[in-house]
């Protein structure tokens, strides 16, 4: 584990946030398997150290853009379980009043500009947010999360070029989980990831995305440098998704072996690894960790029950929020 300067409260919050993401996803998976959730969803489990390590280096005002695999980013940026589960279930109290769902969850109050169901679709938005903040001179930083698969989208090269030309405070965070859908990364990406950013003169890093302290240390440094006008930056975070591409991707031996999955889960789990480190440093006991895990699980279960009981939006909301400033788009 790399070292980062923190007090034990910071460490515990990071641990707790990772556990919260895992618990959220376990519940979301159950909702799907028990046919209580409309549609599909993409699980973030296994990648928790990336979202938490990065978002813990940000203020609530700093912006992020997220992806189809976005629950982890949303939780890590400070979102509330109840409003998230309500959104996943299409309920009125959801972050987007049920209009976005899992793939569009956005939490403006914590600077999350939204998940995106177009792979790579938020790269322009993140870079534009950074342009805004540079113009406004407010020192805010934007992090653009995306997967290895999204690096094949041309948009990224266009916006990296402009971000580098104009010195924008944006960090491109590529979560390389080894697969885009059912295809191995090496089959879709020629050359190296870091070289892509370096071609534009962007400082690029490649790190272990399972080590929350290492992720947080690097992120904190790069965020501080972005605030001083030294951006943009690129980070490749090597990580792994535990579930299928989405919750319905159950039989996946044809593209990924069970042994490979077991290997990552048993030897490189970000939560177990960090928990062990916290104990070895004498920051917490094994019992403390169990207590955290149990409390978070209870929170998640209560939030799920809350969301299951919550109301759907009234049918009259269907033509609301089409246009800002127009209450109902279809009844003038």
């Amino acid at each position: 584990m790399a070292e980062a300067k923190h007090n034990s409260d910071d460490y515990l919050r990071m641990y707790r946030q990772m556990v919260r993401i895992r618990a959220f996803e376990d519940q979301a998976n159950q909702l799907y398997l028990s046919a209580k959730m409309p549609g599909l969803t993409h699980m973030y489990s296994g990648q928790e150290a990336v979202a938490v390590g990065i978002c813990e280096a940000l203020t609530p005002q700093d912006h992020i853009t997220s992806t189809h695999r976005g629950h982890g980013h949303c939780v890590a940026k400070g979102a509330d379980f109840k409003a998230m589960f309500c959104e996943l279930l299409g309920k009125e109290e959801g972050y987007c009043r049920g209009k976005g769902g899992s793939m569009h969850i956005a939490d403006q109050s914590n600077g999350n500009l939204g998940a995106n169901a177009i792979v790579g679709g938020s790269m322009g938005i993140a870079t534009g947010a950074a342009l805004s903040h540079k113009m406004l001179g407010d020192g805010q930083v934007t992090v653009c999360f995306f997967g290895d698969g999204a690096t094949a989208q041309g948009l990224w090269y266009e916006v990296m070029n402009m971000a580098a030309l104009w010195g924008l405070p944006v960090i491109y965070a590529c979560e390389n989980n080894g697969y885009s859908e059912y295809t191995k990364t090496e089959e879709i990406a020629a050359g190296s990831m870091t070289a892509r950013a370096e071609a534009f003169g962007i400082e690029a890093h490649s790190i272990d995305g399972q080590d929350v302290l290492a992720v947080n240390k690097l992120s904190a440094e790069l965020v501080a440098r972005c605030r001083k006008g030294e951006g943009p930056f690129f980070i490749e975070l090597k990580t792994y998704r535990y579930h299928g591409h989405h919750v319905g991707d159950i039989n996946r031996d044809y593209y990924r072996s069970k042994d490979e999955e077991a290997e990552w889960k048993t030897t490189r789990d970000p939560i177990t690894g960090f928990g062990k480190w916290l104990q070895s440093e004498g920051i917490v006991s094994a019992d403390d960790l169990v207590a955290i895990n149990d409390a978070v699980k209870q929170d998640a279960e209560a939030a799920v029950q809350y969301a299951l009981d919550a109301a759907y939006p009234d049918g009259s909301e269907v033509d609301m929020h089409v246009y800002a400033g127009t209450r109902h788009a279809l009844s003038a």
Binding site: G121, G124, S132, T142, V322, A324
Partner: protein
Amino acid sequence: MRQITLGKAVNEAIAEEMRRDDRVFLMGEDVAEAGTPFKITAGLVEEFGTGRVIDTPISEPGFVGMGVGAAMTGTRPIVDLMFGDFLFLVMDQLCNQAAKTHYMSGGKLTVPMVLRTNLGATRRSAAQHSQSLHALVAHIPGLKVALPSSAYEAKGLLKTAIRDDNPVVIFEDKLMYNDKAEVPEEEYLIPFGEAAVLRKGRDITLVGTSSMVQVCLKAADLLEKQGISAEVIDPRTIVPLDEATIVESAKKTSRAIVVDEGHQSYGVSAEIAARIAEKAFYHLDAPVLRFGAMDVPVPFSPALEDLTVPTPEKVAEAAAKICRGELVHAA
């Protein structure tokens, strides 16, 4: 009143809004020192500097996407898309991102962005620089679409667009940049969703958009010589559309022709004609006709290109026929 060109009117609208609101900025290819290929934005960089008049690389999806992100986070970009034909390059950012962000976020995020672009054929620019593609974006809920038909409208509508909290696509006819019209010195705005009745008439309603308003006005002159009185309506924005003014006019005159430079099939003329047919049916004495661009890619040769666009003569001929009770089919 003073007369200025449409190009100058656009320039004034941008300058006035940038003076009024620090958050407004302009970005696009060659918008700064060059002032765009049409010289519309000339002089702005001298007044506002390169921080607010930003030359971009040739990366349409990239800078439109950045416009969306900037608009979501506290600034108000005017994004210049050099030719309307390049809309095809930016559809994801415009239609999947900008148009849907407010809705998908349950009203929490807004995208106050203006995309300025153009339309119009007969500039001998061939198939990839001559299209009128406003139907494409008018089809997508969440976007507003403005079609100014004069310097006066170009200024008033653009200023309204810049102040609107939604993504607005405004199409100028690239053949009209040097056309002059009366434009007041003092500030004015033109509200969205309010059609202009440019000429009153009894016998037939001609609805025209953008430069097709001129076609309709000229057709009305031709018809007047034959004793036919045409009413000419300019919707000014097609989203929102002032359906009431159009339908009321059609009910009064009992006949209507819709003229729009988009391709005739599946287009804006069809939409407006359908609304008239639905809502004024029992008042109509003739089928509602459409005139649009011919359903072919825009050809280069002047001998061919001129055949593809609606003309005052063709519109007047069809109007005269239906006023006489003869059955016609649209061109």
